[in-house]
């Protein structure tokens, strides 16, 4: 209750919460820019640094945050969320993490606002600085550039976590009790990043139909409390400069504060801006000069998701199809978990839990190294058990189809079927994406053990890859002029069997597979053995000549 709080304290508390929210957004977004952040300590207080921390303010980010807040403050039942997602150069995107600042009802009436709350908020910001470098998205963001970019989206209201896939984990950054409630800051992050790993190594163009817009209505029609961000195109350059860190009148008037802050204006030299439409994310390129960042351009883009049909850029709608409340899983943490149930904002029960769990070890850190061991699960593909009875929600279907199709269908198979097939012109057009697509009709069999098996196998390979290939190969493949009495095998069958190279035995994941280290260890023994039998080998070679 606010009755115990003096008006000055209430005013201060509101100010603290407001600036804390803005600084939180800055820290999170700056941690995902892809560069090392460095700000200087200053022994002389300027008064412009809220919470006594040197955190630069990127004007656009402040602007977006203020717009999302729209004059409100994070409060009980009203969370401020920052969603970080990844978008590839091909247009696929994936939500990586959601940071959530909210408040629960537990009040601490005795706490001193202007002193203790302020210092604890400062501590919480420092914790946020530390934790933002620990989640998997940090490493991904440091490597962004050509292949993908990291995007952010700020929204206010109920937190939505359905886009994080199954098995997402949460980490609580911290909490600060205040007389009006307890401020909590937490992060839910995706652990299932296999989409990323498979994508990196498959450079072929996506198969036709991979981006299918089934939207029949505006995707954000039911967003309700969500606040769309501005849409910016690359064509427009109105050169809008945002106000810098203003709020010179917003000074923390505590006993340990100092003289009024000096103006700190950040000029943005190039900003792409357009009148807002009901889009969720922005596309933005910013040159930041005069700040602690390096002078080089960093593309800090927020993608645009147009509401209209037929747009090829429409790749991800994270806000829809909320399902049953997610259980947040915190592995072995003692601090407890902030329950943030995801309330379905619309009536349609959507497919939920589509992403079969992948082992947490298959995370970003290992992505460039060994794809074979990481592509275990078909991430973002539909798991059969998760299919609801209702027709698959169109929006989510699109998203998972796009990615799932890419992950499910090995590239070489796909391209062969679509483009390189010698007799493609004669192939009947009954190749129906809809029916064969695992996204729409998930197979009853469990997911493939290893997508590598799927991509490099032939029909002779071990059974788990069988269904995968069969799903994709055309049933009525009748190559022209293929009947040949000399050959005991039909040309079509022959082609199908041998269109893929057989799987390398060293890549098969058998229990008996030895590690490379062991292989190396046994090499000298093997070499010695071969040397002994060298005469036999020579004789064999001579027979070949």
């Amino acid at each position: 209750m606010d009755s115990d709080l003096s008006p000055q304290d209430k005013k201060d508390l509101d100010k603290f919460i407001k600036f804390f929210a803005l600084k939180t957004v800055q820290v999170i977004v700056q941690a995902r820019l892809g560069e090392k952040i460095c700000t200087r300590s200053s022994s002389s207080p300027t008064g412009a640094d809220w919470f006594n921390l040197a955190i630069k303010d990127i004007p656009e980010v402040t602007h977006e945050a203020k717009k999302a807040l729209a004059g409100q403050l994070p409060g009980i039942g009203r969370s401020m969320c920052v969603e970080i997602s990844l978008k590839t150069s091909e247009g696929d995107s994936m939500e990586l993490e959601t940071w959530c600042l909210d408040m629960n009802e537990k009040c601490d009436k005795d706490i001193k606002v202007s002193y203790t709350v302020y210092n604890r908020l400062s501590l919480l910001l420092k914790s946020l600085l530390a934790i933002t470098r620990v989640t998997p998205a940090y490493k991904l963001s440091r490597k962004q550039g050509h292949d993908y970019v990291i995007l952010y989206r700020i929204y206010f209201g109920e937190v939505q976590l359905t886009g994080l896939g199954e098995g997402f984990q949460t980490v609580r950054v911290g909490l600060v009790g205040t007389p009006v409630g307890t401020i909590t800051l937490s992060c839910a992050y995706r652990t299932n990043l296999a989409f990323m790993s498979s994508r990196q190594f498959e450079r072929t163009a996506p198969i036709m139909g991979i981006i299918i817009d089934h939207f029949v209505d505006r995707p954000f029609a039911n967003m309700g409390h969500m606040h769309p961000c501005n849409y910016r195109t690359a064509d427009e350059d109105e050169g809008v400069t945002y106000p810098g860190v203003e709020d010179s009148q917003e000074v923390c008037t505590t006993s340990f504060s100092t003289s009024p802050p000096s103006q700190c204006v950040c000029t943005v030299s190039k900003v792409h801006f357009q009148t807002p439409k009901s889009a969720v994310m922005d596309t933005l390129k910013v040159h930041i000069t005069g700040l602690a960042f390096s002078d080089q351009l960093y593309s800090f883009r927020l993608s645009y998701h147009p509401p209209a049909l037929g747009s090829a850029d429409l790749c991800y709608q994270p806000v829809f199809n909320t399902a049953q409340p997610h259980q947040m899983v915190i592995p072995g943490k003692e601090g407890g978990v902030p329950q943030a149930p995801v309330q379905p904002s619309h009536g349609t029960p959507a497919d939920h839990g589509r992403m079969p769990t992948c082992t947490p070890s298959s995370m970003a850190r290992h992505i460039p190294a060994t794809p074979s061991s990481r592509e275990e699960a078909e991430t973002l593909s539909q798991s059969s058990e998760a299919k609801s009875n209702s027709p698959p929600d169109i929006l989510e279907t699109t998203f998972t189809r796009k990615v799932g199709a890419f992950v499910n269908k090995p590239a070489n198979q796909v391209t062969t079927a679509c483009l390189d097939l010698p007799f493609a012109a004669f192939a009947p057009k009954n190749f129906d994406m809809e029916e064969n697509d695992l996204m729409v009709n998930p197979p009853d069999s469990p997911v493939v053990e290893s997508p590598l098996q799927g991509s490099l196998h032939s029909d002779d390979s071990t059974g788990s890859s069988g269904p995968l290939q069969d799903d994709f190969v055309m049933v009525d493949f009748k190559p022209a002029f293929s009947k040949d009495d000399l050959l005991p095998i039909d040309l079509g069958t022959f082609y199908r069997e041998f269109q893929n190279p057989p799987q390398l035995s060293s890549l098969s994941i058998d229990v008996s597979a030895q590690s490379m280290a062991e292989d190396l260890d046994t090499l000298p023994v093997k070499l010695a053995l071969y040397e002994q039998k060298i005469d036999e080998f020579d004789a064999f070679v001579e027979t070949l000549q």
Partner: protein, 218 residues
């Protein structure tokens, strides 16, 4: 008042010891440092600004944030370097422990020296392993990175319990609570000690020597 004690354990290669210790110690110090205090009239004071800096590790797949203070970084590197040397040269199995202790000074009357009362101790147990080949090292790089991430989360969790912190001191008492020797930031008074466990499990006399030194110091 009981001293809060937290123990973190890591297993890593010898070349990773420096960076891992720096990562954890700096993470703790980031939370236990404030800006410089400037006392004004009427008992009020203002606080300087603490900057932060990203640091990448070379031997570990990990990045951490530390306070932007070269003096503090130098002090940490020196302590960690000594610890690492002791760890590698002791001829032990490579098991040791480095402790970061935050304390308050309590003035005593002459001839007794000031009492140092710890209020928070962070101990990091280190177990050095040797690896056979490059593949194992690569895996270790990543695993240690993940482990350090978990440790950072543990540290943040403990700190955000908001348990005992010394009261903000008056101007005359500030040196009893904070280390005011640095130019740009002001961490709580801290000291770093370490002990190496030899293969017999008994701790070497380093700790004893330090205790004696501290007692005799005036």
């Amino acid at each position: 008042m009981n001293c809060r004690s937290e123990v973190l354990e890591v297993s890593l290669e010898s070349r990773q010891v420096d960076e891992a210790m720096l990562a954890l110690l700096h993470t703790i110090l980031l939370h236990r440092s404030t800006g410089k205090f400037h006392y004004k009239k009427e008992g009020t004071y203002s606080i300087g600004t603490v900057g932060s800096q990203d640091t990448d590790c070379d031997y570990i797949d990990f990045s951490f944030v530390r306070v932007s203070s070269e003096e503090l970084d130098r002090a940490m590197r020196k302590s960690v370097g000594e610890f690492k040397d002791a760890l590698c040269n002791s001829g032990s199995d490579g098991v040791g422990q480095i402790s970061l202790e935050f304390y308050q000074k309590k003035k005593s009357r002459w001839p007794f020296s000031d009492e140092c009362i710890p209020w928070e101790v962070w101990s990091i147990k280190v177990n050095v392993v040797s690896l056979a080949n490059e593949q194992e090292r690569q895996i270790c790089r990543e695993k240690v990175g993940e482990k350090l991430g978990e440790k950072v989360i543990n540290i943040v969790e403990v700190i955000n319990r908001h348990e005992y912190l010394p009261k903000m001191p008056t101007q005359s008492e500030v040196d009893n609570v904070f280390d005011t020797s640095l130019k740009d930031v002001q961490p709580y008074l801290y000291k770093i000690t370490y002990q190496i466990t030899d293969s017999l499990g008994t701790s070497v006399s380093t700790t004893m020597r330090r205790l004696i030194k501290d007692t005799l110091a005036l």
